[in-house]
Amino acid sequence: MAAPLTLLLIVAVTIRAVLFRSSWAELISERVEVVSPLNAWKRVVEGLALLDLGVSPYSGDVFHEVSLSLIHFLFKSILGSDGITAVALYLSIQTYNKNVFRKQKYALESDRYPADCLELLRSPKEMFYIPLKVAMFYLLNPFTILSCVAKSTCGLNNAIIALFILCTLKGSALLSGILLALATYQSIYPLTLFAPALLFFLQRLYIPVNLRRSSFWFFTLQYAFIYVGSLVVITGLSFFLLGSWDFIPSVYGFIFSVPDLTPNIGLFWYFFAEMFEHFRLFFICVFQINVFFYTIPLSIKLKEHPVFLIFMQIAIISIFKSYPTVGDVALYMAFLPAWSHLYRFLRNIFLVSCVLLACSALFPVLWHLWIYAGSANSNFYYAITLLFNFGQILLVSDYFYAYLRREHHLTHGLYLKKKDGTEATLVLK
């Protein structure tokens, strides 16, 4: 399997290199869909230049990247980070599939599945190519390519999250905690991935989620300690490197209070541009809580399936975060092949793919009409943003429904009967 992966990497790098050299690169790196104030390459260059001059990079309103990234940049180009992400995703999904298959085998041997559910079971044959497909979905996704060609630091963020997933699935609590801390340090929101990671480790170590059990508390505290400890160390490190706490308001304050209302594919900019100033604080709280709030119900509902929970969380972050870009969308879309067995239960996939396709094409068109031609206005662009997010939410909830439904069938049998004997259908309400 290494050969196709290498081939894929070569193809992906070639496409990126060609685009880099072409005149499109500059155009792409200016697109608001691809870069946000947080991760624009232009701003990173500005920050580096300020640092060279001995000025704090956070002194203006340009640079909002955390300082450790600066050092990252000296070592690896963004081009490489896409490759790292893809390989990490490949290995994680491979590990995940092995786990799933092993579990399925045990369940099958202990006769836990109803007889008519055999067609729902997954065969190694169909699972064989899934990791490769995942890597392909990430590397050849136009969103990732655009994000990479624009040299958005989003690729870096994705790489860290992918490595975190890999370490978690490989069972290394220490590395997983450190990487999660790193991801949190970069953009706060991955904080919500703490819950699925913890659930995964608990499941792996056969510790039941029971608030009265001391082993549960012991491991939770242990993992939380690794996470918080490394977060403190990283934050402290960046303090010593810069010699000031400037970066805290400039990075996290910037993420939370959303002062930059440059249009992007998210939901924040238009809403806060239109709103009266005295409601701002309240609605910022509402909007930001939105990202974190879903963690609790989803963790309860999906506590047996932490990897699917990771997918859901990443998707929710990329939809509801304050400065989303297409690079974030690409990360969770890479997981879709891993859930290809849910395909038959998806209900709106046609609608969703039409919506997402049309929106991707309409973004630049409406931007052109608004900014260059001056004939349309921001409402047109925001309408498409809303539609795009509607499509994403529909996609995620569709997968959520399909996943729960498959699990339901695996315990209750595929052909459900109502009490009166007619065929029953499942409805998500």
Binding site: F350, L357, A361, H368, Y372, A373, G374, S375, V427, L428
Partner: protein
Amino acid sequence: MGLLSDPNRRKALTGLLTRLNTPICIVCYLAGIVWFMGLAFEPFTLRTYMSENAMGSTMVEERFSSGERALSLAKEFDAHKRKAGGMPVEWLVKAMQSRGLEVFTQSFSRKLPFPDENKERYMVRGTNVYGILRAPRAPRTEALVITAPCSPGNTNNQAVALLLALAQYFRNQIYWAKDIIFLVNEHDLIGTQAWLEGYHHTNITGMEYSPLQGRAGSIQAALSLELSSDVITSLDLVLEGLNGQLPNLDLANLFYAFCQKLGVLCTIQGKLQRNDWDTAEGYTHAAQTMMLMVLKQACGRSWGDHGLFLRYHIEAASVRGINSFRHYKTDATTIGRLLEGMVRKLNNLLERLHQSYFFYLLPSLSRFVSIGYYMPAFGLLAVILLLRALDLWVHLGAPALAAVDGVTEAEQPSSPGVLTVLTPVVISHLTGVALYLLPVHLQEMAVEHFPVSETEAVVLTAIAIYTAGLALPHNTQRLLSGEGTEQGWKVLKLTALLYLAVLLGCTALINFSLGFILAVTLVPITASITPHIALYAVVMVLLSPAFTILYCVFIYQELIEAPVSVSEGWMLFLSVISQGILDHALYGSLVYPLLALFIYPCWLMFWNILFWN
């Protein structure tokens, strides 16, 4: 969310849509056409009104009186033009300086990709002369532009002269709050393009020009004047700009308001307004006016010097004097007053024109159709593509069906290899790229080997590549022997339908007319196509993009009341193609690349389906 999550209702709806797919599509198509034709019917349109406060309530008084002097200036200008054998730069500079303007010149040169036979030019070299009247009442942050082209021969002398007379008159007034730039440009659009690029420090079309020495503020609005006779019968307003962009409707309202005030006959698309909307003739007249606007907008070229200003966010329109055989004549003084009034109102603007509509169609100068009224006509056509795609999706046995109740026996569709779909898509697009690149690049070779001129070589190469593309399916099929399955073409058709829908949708947003015309011709055949029916092949060719252009040429000639014979029509068709390519190279018009790189390949994908084996 009920519809999206309740399986039973979804099932019913999908069932209905697939069962009644063909009738619904036919109804949608007819409804779309009827809706569009209904737009010209007066009760369905809105009366135009001035939205901009700054231009509405403030009355201005027109006092311009030197029309006669302008006419004598025109004679002088004509004499100097003849003497210089082109633009009399020195005379113009002196004339403007003596009227108290700051005068600057800009020289430019441009080598066309191939000779323009309509205007007989290849190596273009020229000079723009412009004078700036500095605003006495405000900081120099904003400006207005009045431009007149210096055309070869006898045309437009009066326009330049009136421009100078207006400059002299304006110089003596004290109420200007915006700088006024008087621009005389050579080589019509090329000159305007050079000047605009120089003014805004951009270079998007590879023009060579000397930098501008003098500047005023950011340009708020521009008027282009074309006048070739001492007296006129009517004034024609031209709005269609590059890529079908239109200026704010308030500019048209302003023109109309002053024409009413001064009693000048005004036309749009060269058609006078009629008052008998309830008669068949009245309706036909309005429909013809609107159709003319649609055709002009669809071709994406700039129909006057104003068209290039629009790209820079400057509202602009051309005013064209027409002298016909009517008795009622308007003299130069009145035209001068009309322009004075318009410029004074524009001078009152506090912000850019933005209050009124940017997307509209005009069945007459006093009536307009806004985007909300005309978009449904396009939407009804576009929804056919989506309905057909949905139908195909369901028929492909895709999980959409399985998901309706989830547990019906849906054998996983043996998905036809990505290759089957990808190969025709890639090959079609490569043909499109060839159609886009080769005609201009191969002209030298073609001229060497065939007895044709360069322009003919370009056009004929384009037609040759276009026709050669029709032979592709056979070769594509040979490449993938045994791959062509029933499912293969359905997947290809699904892809092509969605692709076409997105493509037409985007086009219609930027240039409604182009999107609508393409939708009218492409939608019926693409929606109904199935492999191996000879009749479809004929219809398909007859409704291909090239034939659409041909039909548009004939309809346009019919509408401007200059019908042409078939051979003349063919010659016009050839010149339209060469003009399209030139417009793209010179001014960045997007119609040619759109047709060559997207619409034509998309059409080829459907052509592929026809020959699926």
